[in-house]
């Protein structure tokens, strides 16, 4: 049993072993044994999710586990129950792993200090989303082989993005170069220490990228004046069809979803030939099967 709280602290070999294992979990792969037969995996979603929750559910079920799907909505959270009380009560029903999504950074770390079963971080606040980064790296690896020397450009709201943090750590660990790009108000200090290069000039960065990962723009950030309007954001930092022309011919387009179509990503690019967005989703199940196998 081990936790997956973040990519932070995982060594390259550990990540590669997990990705190798995920290969075996692809449809038709060698890892068909229901290793979680008779066990329960609890999905604890304190925050909404489509992809991550269904993906973990599918992964657990296809490994033979029963899945407890718990959401904050309609729970005792509204009665003021604390996070620790909630998870301790769910732990008492006997799951082998808790898959947790929470709006507060570090919530899975707090839980992991107080439960005995495995804790898998399915996205915590603006901190990390490790399973997303692993499936992104897995997707890139299937296209490229080793990531060494490749450049991945991450565009958008870096400040509030857990996907960006996990990807910077994961891609760097695997030998890729990571460049992040966004308006200065959404670029936190200390990104260099995380291993990323930082730019605000999207058009200059695009021709050097082997993959471009657009992040979802949280529209409520506009009211907090991180940028003047979504219109202006799209003009300066959106991956439009015209901008996509500046990319290398074989560069890949990624997005963790859900997409604000026409804001950070033009529909023609999202659905275009270079987009691997649905591959990311499909690969997510195999990667999460590997995660559950390692952590349970």
């Amino acid at each position: 049993m081990r936790h997956l709280l973040g990519i932070d602290g995982w060594r390259r070999e550990e990540i590669e072993t997990l990705l190798d294992r995920a290969e075996a979990h692809l449809p038709g792969g060698s890892a068909s044994t229901p290793v979680l037969q008779g066990k329960v995996v609890a999905n604890l979603f304190f925050e909404d999710s489509t992809r991550t929750r269904t993906s973990f559910e599918m992964a657990a079920k296809t490994l033979g586990a029963q899945v407890l799907n718990w959401t904050a909505q309609g729970s005792s959270v509204s009665k003021g129950e604390t996070l620790l009380d909630t998870v301790r009560n769910i732990e008492a029903t006997g799951p082998v792993a808790l898959v947790i999504r929470h709006r507060s950074s570090g919530a899975p770390h707090l839980v992991a200090r107080h439960v005995r079963c495995a804790v898998i971080n399915a996205g915590d606040g603006t901190h990390e989303h490790p399973s997303q980064a692993l499936l992104d790296a897995f997707t890139l690896r299937r296209h490229w082989g080793p990531l060494d020397g490749r450049t991945v450009l991450i565009v958008g709201d870096i400040l509030h993005s857990r996907v960006a943090r996990s990807n910077i750590l994961c891609l760097r660990a695997l030998g890729a170069r990571v460049v992040v790009c966004g308006p200065p108000t959404l670029l936190p200090v200390g990104l260099k220490e995380l291993g990323a290069e930082v730019t605000t000039k999207l058009d200059a960065a695009l021709p050097h990228a082997d993959a471009v990962m657009c992040l979802r723009l949280q529209l409520e950030r506009q009211t907090e004046s991180f940028f003047p309007s979504t219109r202006e954001f799209a003009r300066l930092f959106g991956l439009t069809a015209a901008r996509a022309e500046k990319m290398k011919p074989d560069a890949l387009v990624m997005h963790p979803g859900p997409i604000n179509r026409g804001v950070e990503l033009a529909p023609a690019v999202a659905d275009g030939a270079r987009s691997v967005i649905l591959e990311q989703v499909a690969n997510g199940v195999a990667v999460r099967r590997a995660i559950l196998e390692v952590c349970s």
């Binding site: 604390t82 620790l84 507060s104 950074s105 570090g106 770390h109 707090l110 603006t126 901190h127 220490e193």
Partner: protein
């Protein structure tokens, strides 16, 4: 009790009078009666063998939250006073942000009467700047001062309204009391949970930029220059603030500042993996800020070490980091952390003692803080060589919220005397009979 106590052959450090050497100190009727290089022979005196000990003026903490009235589960005036004397403090200034805000004589008198009943150390109440700490209207400063308040502050909150802040400085000149300020521009700190920097970015915690503090320090120094009052900056934490205070002092402005042991000891990395015990306001800053504070303690820019002793319950801290309540208890670890600066060569012993005694006394115009003949016999004995590990379970405070649990410290308080009466000795509180 004869009223005669003789501290024999201790190393007396009295920075106000430039004394640092072996002396005998005689106390009579609660006051210092004689300080002598030659051994004294006094019949009928209770003799305290202070060889190998430092004999110091009792420490004065300008910034303590005693939580009573209103949050007695966290601390009471009695338990807070126990923690104070166990930490060598003979006087504390009690912050007004209790659950009944100290914005009236009624609350001031309650604090004073509970403190008298505790009979351990001096408690000086601080009154609120604004009614209910709401930042809207001035509290009745005259009433607060006559009831016994020694300063006014909305600590825990800034006075965001600049005009109100200006008037509070002006109005306080009537009473010649310091206006103590918690410097935080709330529009800059926003929803931030820790200081801006690589740790906040790695942990995905929303950042509080240093400008949230520095901009308010700048504002208030500008206001002070116009009003001519007395400004005391609480828990200064940033390099930028230090620079401004240094410059303001050089220009002769009537400003004083305090720093907390946690801010001059720990940097942002102490948050580790979301340790809420390292969550406070202002937040732990970057290493260069810690270095700037240490320099400012040494060069006199900072007048006092104050703990911002802020007791909280276990449940207040055992939550998601961003929900975690701000604050740490500090009375019982202050001396050890201050002496760490001496061991590190940052401060001389005399400067360290000054920052705990005469510095705060001078900043607020309080009695004590020195050991001249006639001074109150508030005396703290320190064993400078004793090594010990912080054990929060053994705190006299009701609360355990410290980021220093388990930390090894060198130097501990062996006895505390207030007004010539022993109130703490070798790990035991000496309750009044």
């Amino acid at each position: 009790m004869s009223g005669l106590v003789l501290f024999r052959r201790g190393r007396v450090i009295d920075p106000r009078h430039g004394i640092d050497g072996v002396r005998d100190v005689l106390v009579r009727d609660g006051k210092v009666a004689e300080v002598s290089e030659a051994p004294l022979q006094v019949s009928g005196a209770e003799v305290v063998d202070a060889q190998g000990r430092w004999v110091l003026p009792g420490f004065i903490d300008l910034h303590v939250h005693l939580r009573e009235p209103g949050e007695e589960g966290k601390e009471t005036i009695l338990t807070g006073c126990r923690a104070a004397v166990a930490g060598g403090f003979t006087a504390v200034v009690a912050m007004p942000n209790t659950k009944l805000v100290n914005d009236s004589a009624l609350v001031t008198e309650l604090v004073l009467s509970r403190a008298r009943a505790a009979r351990l150390c001096h408690v000086y109440p601080a009154g609120a700047i604004t009614k209910g700490l709401k930042g809207e209207e001035l509290a009745e400063m005259g009433e607060l001062v006559s009831a016994g308040c020694v300063c006014i502050t909305d600590d825990g909150r800034p006075v965001m309204n600049a005009s109100l802040m200006r008037r509070s400085l002006q109005y306080a000149t009537l009473f010649d009391i310091p206006v103590m300020v918690h410097e935080e521009d709330l529009t800059l700190s926003g929803k931030g949970a820790m200081t801006e920097g690589p740790t906040a970015t790695r942990l995905g915690l929303l950042p509080i930029p240093p400008s949230a503090e520095v901009a308010m320090v700048a504002r208030d120094l500008v206001l002070l220059e116009e009003t001519g009052g007395r400004l005391h900056i609480a828990h200064i934490s940033c390099e930028g603030s230090v620079r401004m205070v240094r410059e303001a002092k050089r220009r002769g402005l009537n400003v004083t500042a305090e720093a907390t042991p946690h801010h001059f000891t720990l940097d942002d990395t102490a948050v580790g993996q979301y340790d809420t015990h390292a969550k406070m306001n202002p937040p732990l800053r970057l290493r260069r800020d810690v270095e700037a504070l240490r320099e400012a303690l040494a060069d006199g820019t900072i007048d006092a070490i104050a703990t911002d002793h802020a007791p909280h319950g276990v449940l207040d801290k055992q939550v998601e980091f961003e929900k975690g309540i701000n604050g740490v208890v500090g009375l019982e670890t202050a001396l050890g952390l201050t002496l760490a600066l001496v061991h590190d060569g940052v401060l001389s012993p005399s400067k360290a003692v000054e920052l705990l005694t005469h510095g705060p006394a001078r900043a607020f115009g309080l009695p004590g803080g020195h050991l001249a003949v006639g001074a109150p016999a508030d005396v703290t004995l320190v064993d400078p060589a004793a090594e010990w590990a912080v054990d929060a379970e053994r705190f006299f405070s009701k609360s355990r919220n410290t980021p220093f649990n388990g930390r090894l410290l060198k130097g501990c308080v062996t006895q505390t005397w207030v007004g010539g009466r022993l109130v703490f000795s070798n790990g035991q509180i000496q309750e009044a009979r």
